[in-house]
Subunit: 456 residues, 2 copies
């Protein structure tokens, strides 16, 4: 392993230069006008896999964006890793809040700022470079590996389940490795053993056939913007508890051991609050902030739109209003069940004065694994070697629906091996990746292959 690590250390700057090229491609999967960029990112990913020495590299078409595949299967008798990541990125609006352009990667204070730096191009690239280091220095890998990089993660991986179902043979492996989550904190590498699931819906209300003059008609009709506000206000009580009937029925209570373990984590609530710039933290009564984000479900309004929103004043009663509402789920909540409960509740609280439409956008199941899984242990050792510190074991508030898919369809455990940071601004302006962690992540990935090889 020494020569592999040496190689990685020597090439540190080159990796950053190459990553910048990757980050320059605005592969925003949510916006149709970026379709060509998304494909360009897929092609770039394929070329990077070839350069690293992977074999059978190809783009596999789906009804949406292509999957990039590449493998190295020349270690008979050794385990096979299925590495999963994504080359698509989130939209960048409000773009005016970015300090440097989102698709011109800029290094400031040891961090690289660009959309996709942490989520997920930077972490995908880290594994590509770890493979390259092994193959360039030793001509081989200690195990077998399959790269499976998709382009629709940021739009709910809509074609992924079908793809996995119809490529079971090609994707067969012993363990899935995913690097798409942050570590617990700066300097505290971690292994994530639980993720929340997701249900994302859009509520559309219509009050009248067109916008009305609020002078002439104000008082005579229900205002869909006000009705929407009244409906949203009925979704949570003052203690932050979600009022959708049945919502909490399947929630697995937090175990005392977990609660105790998390209390020991170096989590500074004041620092956390200040970093977010929030006047005061707020969440469900009876739980700590870590418990609220890792082990409790929640409901968030992700977007609101009605009437006139430009500068100045326009005296309209909007004809329509819209809210995007998503719920984060925890084991053992089922997205389909929750979506149904939510829709039923929305219909129940919609007054007869407006028409309602609820559109389900996407969702994913929550996921949890056990601490004593041998692959999780192997990942812990690799992290320790790459970062020089024992990792902590945590859950994450975000959703990686594919983890549940791999569990269900391929019966594979997942190891979440993330090197982002909690303040990385994934999905927000000024997304960034710490270059120290990027480098440490390449070394740790190289060790990971070695450690997983030893499990068999």
């Amino acid at each position: 392993m020494n020569q592999v690590v040496d190689f990685i250390n020597v090439n540190r700057d080159r990796y950053v230069d190459e990553l910048k090229q990757y980050l320059a491609i605005p592969s925003i999967s949510a916006l149709p006008q970026h379709a060509a960029d998304v494909r360009r990112a897929a092609e770039w990913t394929g070329e990077a896999l070839k350069t690293a020495g992977l074999q059978n590299v190809r783009l596999i078409e789906t009804p949406g964006n292509p999957v990039v595949y590449g493998d190295w299967l020349n270690a008979p008798g050794k385990p096979t890793i299925l590495f999963y990541g994504h080359y698509d990125v989130q939209p960048v609006d409000p773009v005016e809040l970015w300090t440097s352009p989102p698709f011109e990667a800029t290094v400031r204070d040891g961090e690289i700022y660009a959309r996709g730096s942490a989520d997920d191009k930077g972490q995908v690239f880290m594994h590509i470079k770890a493979v390259e280091a092994h193959l360039k220095q030793t001509g081989s890998l200690p195990l077998n590996i399959k790269f499976f990089i998709e382009g629709e993660e940021e739009v709910g991986s809509v074609h992924l389940d079908d793809f996995v179902r119809s490529h079971k043979q090609e994707l067969a492996a012993d363990v899935v490795v995913i690097s798409d989550s942050p570590m617990f904190d700066r300097g505290i590498p971690s292994i994530c053993y639980g993720l929340r699931g997701l249900v994302y819906c859009q509520i559309d209300l219509r009050g009248t056939k067109s916008d009305l003059h609020s002078g002439s008609f104000g008082g005579a009709v229900a205002n869909p913007a006000m009705v929407l506000a009244q409906m949203l206000a009925q979704m949570k009580d003052r203690g932050g508890r979600i009022k959708v009937p049945g919502f909490y029925d399947a929630v697995r209570p937090l175990r005392d051991e977990e609660r105790a373990e998390w209390k020991r984590l170096p989590f500074n609530e004041t620092r956390y609050r200040k970093e977010l710039g929030a006047p005061k933290l707020f969440g469900e009564s009876g739980y700590t902030t870590l418990e609220r984000t890792w082990a409790r479900p929640t409901l968030e309004v992700n977007g609101l739109l009605a009437g006139f929103t430009g500068e100045g004043a326009k005296t309209v009663i909007p004809a329509v209003s819209m809210a995007k509402v998503s719920m984060r789920l925890v084991p053992d909540q089922d997205p389909d069940t929750i979506a149904k409960l939510f829709e039923d509740y929305v219909r129940k609280i919609t007054p007869k004065t407006v028409e309602v439409k609820v559109t389900r956008m996407h969702g994913g199941k929550p996921w949890m694994t056990e601490f004593d899984n041998p692959f999780v242990k192997a990942a812990g050792r690799a992290i320790e070697k790459g970062f020089g510190k024992t990792p902590v074991f945590n859950r994450e508030g975000g959703s990686i629906p594919v983890v549940a898919t791999f569990q269900e369809l391929l019966n594979l455990p997942s190891v979440l091996f993330g090197v982002g940071l909690p303040d990385e601004n994934a999905h927000a302006p000024n997304e960034k990746l710490d270059l120290g962690n990027f480098h440490g992540g390449i070394v740790a990935s190289a060790y990971l292959y070695d450690e997983i090889a030893r499990t068999k």
Copy 2:
């Protein structure tokens, strides 16, 4: 008067052609990028006044958009009308809902569709043409008239009070005539004797310094979109009554006579509801629809914005949220007092988890006059001659703040002589003006000068 009316009848088509040119100018005062168009509309208005034979025509500069002035003061001993109107128009968004382009006036089924057709260019032009008919056919007018056409009505007439205050001499008159309101219904010409006032505010909330990933942070912080919804929901009770403390204190109760008079008006609630396309009407308990829109104050959400509002799904907790909220006021509510009560209430119901900013945009006082005012009676006779029907006396839900200004600063009564229709879509897509009413309005305006001349 016969030759004047004959002239108007003969020129019917020419008036429509000229009006189309006026409506082609996108004089949207709310949008800075239309500043040049606003000035062009002012110049066009001045040229039209000159063509009609008015004297001393000029643009008078203000700190905002110019006032267009013109007069004819050659009837000594006769009353002087101050005609007030505006050449600016509302924004046109959502522009995709217009059947024909908002600034290419299009006639369909006897109605001319364009932004500004009813509000207010069409009604301003009607008076210009009535003056022209008198002067072209008889060389004189039966009274004195001053035209005072402003360009900031749709942005709250922000410089008007100062202008009136500093031009009291030039604006001195016996009565103000305004044509900027709809008639009661198609075929039911009316004189409006009351208007609601307005307070328009914007509420801005900030929760965190930037948008957050709703997975990683969902549950830990207050969501400003949800907080805004909860605050708006606290502004009205289930019966539609406004919960701002003190809001109703100065409301003049509806008189029994008015209530009885309005019950006799041919108002078809089912037709009204169907025309608006509302599943169900809704308003303050204990009042009819006419009472709710004419004699009761109300509170409306005019705009809502937070987070991701594009197509698809973006899992953010918005850093900020915004609502535009306006209140329509009735006698004797005072805009300053109400604005203060509203701001106090907003601050009171804002939780400590967010920062709040309340911006007052603009406002205007409510207004009412008496039935037996001689000028109102004269206007009733003119309407009867122009439309062949006795007008009804009604109030209006909208606001024309300048009416209160003229009352206060110039001590002048106003006659509201509107020929729009309730479904004219002022402030909404597909604004229109009935060409029969436009023509009848020119005839009635010509008679109005004659009838007002007889009051002295």
